[in-house]
Amino acid sequence: MKPVYFDHAATTPVDPRVFEAMTPFFCERFGNPSEPHRLGREARSAVDQARARVAALLGAGENEIVFTAGGTEADNLALFGSLARLQPGHLVVSAVEHPAVMEAARALNGRGWDVDYVPVDGDGVVDREAYRAAFRDDTRLVSVMTANNVVGTVQPVAELARIAHQKGALFHTDAVQAVGSLPVDVDELGVDMLSLSGHKLHGPKGVGALYVRRGTRLQPLLHGGGQERRLRSGTENVPGIVGLGVAMTLACEAMPEVRPRLERLRDRLVAGVLARVPEVTLLGHPTDRLPGNAAFAVRYVEGESLLLRLDARGFTVSSGSACAAGSDEPSPVVQALGVRPEDAHGSLRVSLGRENTEEEVDAFLDALPPIVDELRRMSPLYAKR
């Protein structure tokens, strides 16, 4: 069997149609969009077209989209850009944010900002009471992700944004995992800023965007030629931006077909894993979750070992155990759900994408139990349980 890619939450293969649309902008139509000559104008119109597409798919205006070098930059621009111009005050984020938001919040904390990390419940949903209670008179910004990258839980962003606005704070959401998988409309969500990334939706790496609601004042992170309405200097990544525009269009067009299919595959996978492997729990919300995300805590098994064994059998998955990411603490996100550290250590994330099939899911369901069994037999903790 061909190797099976089940790590779409980490990154996705570029759709060949996206690649084809990008290709001319490397060697032939390579102009600088800031130049008035023909090549420059050609590049400018390609960037404008991509911007129009991205804006329309989010229900935003064209001048509300800032292209960046990816989701991380978009998150940093949202947090630093909106706050760095203010006197230090108070910032609220959820306890399960992506490191791009977490670390930006920590850095702001180092500059005098107070940060509150709002806890989540056992399903990974922001605790409403704690959320309401977190606000202060000087709360300037809230950042809560649309859907979680590790456990897939979708947050009630519209409700959280409404509360933030009642309290006079801006609201940012990291929608990197959601855009292209779930319908995302900035007015329905009522957010002031929203981050997205190209490579999570079958587009290229190195490109993303920040939606900035008209009237929201930001300070740039990068200073220079004043591109992107002065919010992001630097010659535009024209092929990347074109790729993002096409990828997002394709993902959103395919969503009515892909989303229910992925949900069926995911539910089949979840049911199969829970039925065939003892001492496994599903992580994240049972239903309010990303269509392709299936995350588990596998007790008495260490995550990196599980990942490597599955890899050797041709299945590319991820472990929420941060060992795989080069740190050694069990995943902070999984622990925020109240999972014991030793169980968080055995987390497994399977993230399906539109090219996956039922046969692949079934092959995985056959491969997993003996691997878990073997690792458990090797584990000194299992015998003593």
Binding site: E302, D328, H345, M378, Y382
Partner: protein, 144 residues
């Protein structure tokens, strides 16, 4: 990030299990990540380790270093075996990523614990310090 040899020992670990009626057993936890290794040894004539088995709950590096260590110490005397450091095991595997060096302490420490257990059981606690004169250790990684 892992060498082929690490992956080989991880995928086909040698000497997995537990010796029934072992002469010494040692179990240690890794303070950095909470992972655990358990090593059991059989000791024969002339203090020679005749058999050694391991069980590890841990990452790829923890399993591979456990496996490699068991291969390196069979047939060695207790004294020689106690001198096999985590650094030597990592080198025998063609190196480990710096962030994974702390994982290699698990197996080496579990073996030391097993030898200590054997000496205690056989009423030789007086020799513990001499036999376990601790081998040099890798510095702890500075950041995680």
């Amino acid at each position: 990030m892992y060498t082929d040899l690490v992956l080989d020992h991880f995928t086909n670990p040698r000497n997995v299990g537990e010796i029934e009626e072992a002469d010494g057993v040692g179990e240690v936890g890794n303070p950095v990540c909470g992972d655990v290794t358990r090593i059991s040894i059989a000791v024969g004539e002339g203090d020679v380790i005749t058999d050694v088995k391991f069980k590890t709950f841990g990452c790829g590096a923890a399993v591979a270093t456990s496996s490699m260590l068991t291969e390196m110490v069979v047939g060695k005397s207790l004294r020689e075996a106690a001198d096999v450091s985590n650094v030597a095991v990592a080198e025998a595997l063609g190196g480990l990523p710096p962030k994974k060096m702390h994982c290699s302490n698990l197996a080496a420490d579990a073996l030391q614990a097993a030898i200590r257990d054997y000496l205690l059981r056989s009423g030789r606690e007086a020799e513990i310090d001499e036999i376990l004169a601790s081998p040099p250790k890798a510095p702890e990684p500075s950041s995680h």
